[in-house]
Amino acid sequence: MSDSKDKNELNRRQFLGNMLKTACGVGLVGLGLGAYSKRASTMPANYIRPPGALPEEDFLGACIRCGLCVRDCPYDILFLGEVGDEVATGTPYFIARSGPCEMCVDIPCVVACPTNALDHDLKDIEESRMGLAVLIDQENCIAFHGLRCEVCFNVCPIRNRAITLDMQHNTRSGKHALFIPVVHSDACTGCGLCERACILEEAAIKVFPMHLAKGELGKHYRLGWQEKEKAGEALVTPDTKHQYNLPDGVRYDLQGEGLIIDGEAEETPFSSNPLDTLNSGFMDK
């Protein structure tokens, strides 16, 4: 009787011991997985998520790695990360330089997604923000050499809004213009058509994930002129007219070209038209 009881005790002890062993082992696996997940959720800068993808951390929780977006992409630009790739295993991405998003109006990849990892609220492809094009190499972009290229500007599906051309003086030749492509983040979807089209051996304009491409103003930052416009008046110090210590009849106005002496205008011997002055000078002599 007592024998069997001892046996039971031993079994219970063994049972608890085994359970503890298993729990510890699995706990270690969990720690390892947690640490690994941090490493595995990094992504190379040229890997771009499909349209409508949630912010990366949410995306990794939402994407079930089914590949339906890959299958429904009519241009076959999407890939699933393979083991050993520098992207979370099984998650979709594209590489703009070799296969950019063609911006289908019906966005079939988003429609195919069963979990909203690609947000189904995205109905207008122009609203998508896959990344942001950045003209990153201004030394090699031939527009900066004063050469006419504008290929990125011309292939951009959101023409003249996502990329505009900024005309600047060509100081090298002294008489030509530079047609500088400028990307606007309020319109650029990050489709990467510009990156593919860039005529250089290595693209000067590249699409990067938003967090790499964009800076962010400190949350406390307020731009005075914007705040002033919103409030209708200056918030810090009220606008007071600057007082100059000038003799009577003399004013100062920068836009009006500096010192203004009231009543002097009539006394001047010069006409307001400089040609008159020049011509009259010759006549008098």
Binding site: T22, G34, L60, G61, G67, R71, D72, E82, V83, P114
Partner: protein, 302 residues
């Protein structure tokens, strides 16, 4: 001890090769057929099924979604689309009916690997014993469901899940996933018998729970015919499930294999020369038993 060199010979002698490998062949057809369906699209442009085991769309109309992976996604805060929910309901209904671990033995591609490892173990006579408890898989299951809650960055398990990795690898591109598959093969071959599927895999544990009340079961209705050859125990990936049904007659235990650990693979049915086992319902009873019960109740009435 069962002689490994003659394993299955009795069944072949009694029933012929085909009948003694019937369910094994059917399972291979099922496993490879499912893979073929998914591969017909990328290989031959025949788009019958798109996606993979995590979520798929058949003939552009039937959505099927893995409830386990969707559960992990939901725990990390996702609201799935209606199609995914319908897909999960269909899949759950199917496995509730036929047994959750039917996924393991009839669908999962890793089963091909672990079955090969188990077969090779028997051939080579490798006898290393598992240091793991079979309940490890439930701890793993709990872990994989807790991680999405604790760690930002979501479905952690899917970063390393060999089951989805292998299937996705075959359909979409393997990368270095073969290392994982090889690892499981060697683990099962050298370290532990049925080590992965029977002890560790949380996917199996999940489906195990899904099918705990399933209707389709293997039973040992003809258990009186058992000649104690023990071959069913050798080929069974979860041998602990057999004994209560096969040897429980004296204790009045049901001849139905009731444990949801059973994968419904049907190897015991194949290997048994005496046809002790068969598929049946959860409450399967032998005709003789029914008759006897009828007589008893009639007798009671009289």
């Amino acid at each position: 001890m069962v002689d490994m060199t003659t394993l299955g010979d009795d069944a072949i002698a009694a029933k012929g090769w085909m009948k003694s490998h019937k369910y094994l062949i059917l399972r291979r057809i099922s496993q490879l057929g499912i893979l073929a369906l998914f591969l017909a699209g990328p290989w031959f442009g025949l788009w019958i099924v798109k996606g993979n085991l995590a979520s798929s769309l058949t003939l552009d109309i039937l959505p099927l979604t893995d409830p386990y992976v969707l559960l992990q996604a939901s725990l990390s805060g996702v609201v799935p689309e209606t199609a995914a929910i319908i897909g999960v309901v269909i899949v759950l209904a199917f496995y509730l009916l036929v047994g959750g671990r039917v996924y393991c033995s009839w669908v999962c591609p890793v089963n091909l690997v672990t079955d090969l490892a188990a077969w090779l173990r028997r051939k080579l006579g490798i006898r290393s014993n598992s240091q793991f408890s079979r309940s490890t898989r439930y701890w793993m299951l709990a872990l994989t469901l807790i991680l999405p809650l604790l760690v930002t960055g979501g479905i952690i398990w899917e970063l390393v899940n060999p089951v989805s990795m292998m299937f996705r690898g075959i359909v979409f591109g393997m990368g270095a996933a073969w290392v994982m598959v090889l690892g499981i093969f060697l683990f099962d071959l050298i370290v532990a018998k049925d080590g992965w599927c029977g002890h560790i895999c949380p996917v199996g544990a999940f489906y195990n729970l899904v099918g705990s009340k399933s209707l389709l079961r293997v039973n040992a209705l003809e258990r009186q015919a058992c000649n104690d050859c023990m071959e069913c125990y050798v080929v069974c990936p979860e041998p602990q499930v057999i004994k209560p049904a096969l040897k429980g007659e004296k204790q009045g235990a049901t001849p139905v294999i009731i444990s949801s650990d059973c994968t419904n693979c049907g190897r015991c049915i194949d290997i048994c020369a005496k046809d002790v086992f068969s598929y049946g319902g959860r409450h399967a009873k032998k005709n003789d038993d029914l008759k006897r019960e009828g007589e008893i109740s009639q007798g009671a009435q009289a």
